[in-house]
């Protein structure tokens, strides 16, 4: 059976699902295939828009400020590309897209298991699993911590015995140190280890186990009574937990616990295996499907057939079956190296699915650039490694282009981490770029199908 959807989305992270949902909500028949989870499911629970300029040590106060700077300094950054208008970059256009995309997402995610809070006017300084803070724009509802940075806050960091991802004592001290460095230390920072063993053991406990446990009444009751006591005993104003408050119920649980303990109970940003990342992935999957999209997991797109300047067919393979899809338009959202949207050998970087042109951070041909040469001897610097800016170059319609800057196909669009020209780790811009380009690609696809751009 051949599949002939209006839109084929290849890749189901933030970028692909957003593009697919936007198109599906416009009434198009959208098929999304994905071979596995990618970076989106590993993300920490925060949606970064842009925290830093590459090379800068001071963070941006607000994403708006960031976009204004980036569109000026990096004309080929995805945030700049979408701002092209009549040959020039119009920063307001980019800001408008980002506003639309984030407002849209916020609305979509509202009441989902990954509802987000925050706004574009400022970057939040969000507490991470190791006690450091990072600038980000939106966080999941179970992660907000009003008043944490007030002088009279008394945060209590709570770890769970046998859950090695989170060391409450060290995390608490890291937080304290950071606040002291900027002369804004709370008077007291507390930490405690509690027993919460989902399977009757106090060792080798994964975040996900605790999250599942807290989704049950039994789990919630248990943690509520423990935290109530702890807060009473210590007089804490905030309770800081690793990101384990639930899969389905994390936000409700955080609210419930805050109400019961009279302290603000919240989660830190997580490292993988990340529960909030999973929540985001699941929420996006559900929204896409609720919008009428068809999600086929476990299928990998393996090749494409182009006729002239049109992509006519994509072949995909499942574990033991092959399928052929003939869409009207397609969105490529296969991610970067983690998701294998890009592959690197010692001699260069390529895009394995369609053999698209790949470029370096400076937009030179990347097919024969030794990856090593685009790294620095020191792994962590404020400039990041150039190799992580590698990707597929796109035109202002987000269509991958060839060496001449012409679109490879009029009906093929790209979104997310596969796009060249930004380094999400260094800039703290990952999900923001994925969301925005996904949103824009969704709109472009609609226009492509409805009115042939």
């Amino acid at each position: 059976m051949d599949l002939e959807p209006d839109v084929l989305v290849i890749g189901g992270g933030m970028a692909g699902l957003v593009a697919g949902t936007v198109a599906a909500q416009d009434g198009l028949d959208v098929l999304l295939i994905r071979r596995g989870q990618g970076s989106t499911a590993m993300s920490s629970g925060a949606i970064d828009i842009c925290g830093y300029m590459r090379g800068a040590t001071v963070h941006f106060e607000s994403p708006i400020e960031a976009i204004q700077t980036i569109t000026r300094v990096h004309p080929l950054h995805p945030y700049s590309i979408i701002a092209y208008d009549e040959g020039g970059i119009v920063p307001e256009k980019s800001i408008k897209y980002i506003k639309d995309a984030t407002n849209w997402l916020k609305k979509q995610l509202a009441r989902s298991i990954a509802a987000i809070e925050g706004d574009l006017s400022r970057n939040l300084m969000q507490l991470t699993q190791i006690g450091t803070t990072k600038p980000t724009c939106f966080v999941q509802g179970s992660m907000v911590h009003p008043g944490l940075y007030d002088n009279d806050s008394r945060p209590l960091f709570v770890g769970i015995r046998g859950h090695s991802d989170f060391n409450a004592a060290i995390t608490a001290n890291t937080f304290l140190q950071y606040r002291m460095d900027i002369d804004m230390a709370p008077r007291i920072v507390l930490n405690e280890m509690i027993d919460l063993s989902p399977h009757g053991r106090h060792h080798n406990i994964a975040s996900i186990e605790i999250a599942r446990f807290l989704d049950t009444e039994e789990g919630l009751e248990k943690i509520t009574s423990i935290l109530k006591n702890e807060v009473k005993r210590t007089g804490a104003t905030h309770v800081v937990l690793p990101a384990v408050l639930g899969i389905e119920r994390a936000i409700d649980n955080a609210k419930h616990l805050s109400k019961e303990t009279q302290a603000t109970v919240f989660e830190t940003l997580a490292f993988p295996p990340s529960v909030p990342g999973l929540r985001l992935q699941m929420a996006l999957d559900r929204i896409f499907q609720a919008s009428g999209g068809t999600l086929i997991l476990g299928h990998k797109a393996v090749s494409g057939v182009f006729k002239g300047e049109t992509l006519v067919e994509v072949k995909a393979s499942g574990p033991k079956r092959k399928i052929s899809i003939r869409p009207k338009a397609a969105v490529l959202a296969t991610g970067k190296f983690i998701s294998e949207g890009l592959l690197g050998s010692q001699k260069g970087v390529r895009e394995p699915l369609f053999g698209l042109v790949t470029v370096t951070g400076e937009f030179y041909d990347a097919s024969e650039e030794y990856p090593r040469r685009h790294t620095r001897p020191i792994p962590f610097t404020n400039r990041g490694h150039d190799i992580f800016q590698f990707g597929v170059p796109v035109d202002e319609n987000l269509r991958p282009v060839d060496y001449n800057g012409r679109a490879k196909a009029e009906n093929l669009f790209a979104a997310g981490a596969i796009i060249a020209g930004y380094d999400f780790s260094s800039e703290k811009s990952g999900l923001g770029v994925a969301l925005t380009t996904g949103y824009v690609a969704g709109e472009k696809v609609i226009r492509n199908i409805r009115s042939d751009i």
């Binding site: 596995g36 970076s39 590993m42 399977h199 053991r201 186990e209 299928h299 033991k320």
Partner: protein
């Protein structure tokens, strides 16, 4: 030392050092696992980790990045590796396609060579049966009893009996698999009935022979190969160009062995056959004839061996087919594609683990309020039936094939 002696000597040293020399194909399997980057995404989704916790079953990530790295140490995984149900959830979600179920079979095989005493004895029993009868179950002693049991079952379900077509050549071979052959006979009968009603030129094997999956899953690689070979030659005898099966495990397993053997035969689960080879109008007509005879609210369970070992498209087809049936309304379960716990031979030696895995399904099925669960696999059917019963949840479980046959039969009356 002669060359043979030299070889013997070397093999002896390797044995002492617990080095089980892997062959090319096996090393390639080990190789395919190398792509693991320890992201842990799979830990979040593995149903066994969810059921018993990461301490009891350290999970797919640990299988990929820890337990499968050094062959001489494979035996140490014996306290973990037999708990994997082989559901493939990890592989389906892994960003790098790390094929955990494959490596699990390999680890089990190597343990078999290194420390057979660490293998759960129930698996050895299955292997014995397979060796003796080429069947995963002890065959009925008395064929009369078998037939009687069959008749009772189909009578209850309202499926007309049609005679077996054995020893003939035909375009289509219907392969029921061990479960439907020896235990869930109604599935086998239902499939035959459907094929006849659709006027398909089909036959059965002269004698049922296991596809080898249970052997492979329990670590008996050589036995699995023998069974595969035996089956392939039996298939060749029939001259069939297409094989239709009703079992999820058989679908994925046959697809694999047929592909490896190079025989020019196409494997279908009956769902695929109905979708791809049968005229939609014909099928609809058969369903339509039964309109008004029955109403039911169902929920669907997707078997791992279909969705994660063959293709998700099959269940996409299944829902299209089920929607054609008048009077059927579908209530999706939130755990529709969650492993039922019946796979990987886990139930044989650790039934408590298997039941804990099924709990998720049971709860979700109960929440749907559906009257029955429909699933295209006799193994899933049994596992779900048992666990629903145990949890006092009154929901019927029907094999997909039986469900379809019933509808067609109603139209006939």
């Amino acid at each position: 030392m002669s060359e043979e002696e030299a070889y013997e000597f070397v093999m002896n040293t390797l044995r002492k050092e617990a080095i089980v020399p892997l062959d090319h194909e096996e090393i390639d399997i080990v190789r395919s696992i190398e792509k693991c980057m320890n992201c842990g995404s799979c830990i979040n989704l593995c149903p066994v980790v969810a059921a018993v916790g990461m301490d009891t079953f350290s999970g797919p990530r640990s299988i990929a990045i820890e337990l499968s790295r050094s062959t001489p140490e494979f035996w140490t995984s014996a306290n973990m590796i037999f708990l994997c149900t082989g559901c493939g959830t990890c592989r389906e979600n892994c960003p790098h396609d790390v094929d955990i179920p494959m490596i699990v079979n390999l680890l089990r095989w190597v343990i078999y060579k290194q420390r057979p005493e660490l293998i759960p004895k129930q698996l050895l029993e299955v292997q014995n049966r397979l060796e003796k009868h080429s069947l995963a179950f002890e065959p009925w002693e008395d064929i009369e009893d078998k037939n009687e049991s069959r008749d009772v079952r189909i009578e209850q379900l309202g499926i007309p009996f049609v005679k077996d077509r054995k020893g003939v050549k035909a375009e289509v071979l219907f392969y029921p698999g061990c479960q439907a052959e020896e235990r869930a006979q109604e599935v086998r009968e239902a499939a035959k009935y459907i094929l006849v009603r659709l006027e398909v030129d089909y036959c059965l094997l002269s004698e049922m022979s296991c596809c080898g999956l249970p052997a492979r899953l329990s670590g008996a690689k050589e036995l699995a190969r023998d069974l595969e070979k035996k089956l392939i030659s039996k298939i060749k005898e029939t001259g069939a160009k297409k094989i239709v099966t009703t079992c999820a495990g058989c679908t994925s397993s046959l697809s694999e062995i047929i592909e490896n053997s190079g025989v020019n035969v196409k494997v279908y689960h009956i769902i695929e056959y109905l979708m791809e080879e049968v005229d939609e109008a014909k099928l609809k007509l058969l369903f339509e004839r039964g309109r008004g005879t029955s109403e039911s609210t169902i929920t669907i369970h997707d078997p791992c061996h279909l969705i994660r070992h063959t293709s998700r498209m099959i269940m996409y087809y299944a829902s299209i087919i089920l929607r054609m049936i008048p009077g059927v309304s579908i209530k999706p379960s939130s755990a529709f594609d969650s492993c039922c716990g019946g796979g990987g031979m886990v139930g044989y030696h650790s039934p408590h683990v298997a039941s804990r895995v099924t709990e998720v399904n049971v709860k979700a099925i109960e929440r749907t309020g559906a009257e029955r669960v429909v699933t295209p696999c006799p193994l899933c059917t049994t596992q779900l039936e048992n666990e629903l019963f145990r949890s006092n949840v009154v929901v019927d479980v029907d094999d997909f094939t039986v469900f379809i046959a019933q509808q067609i039969a109603r139209g006939e009356r």
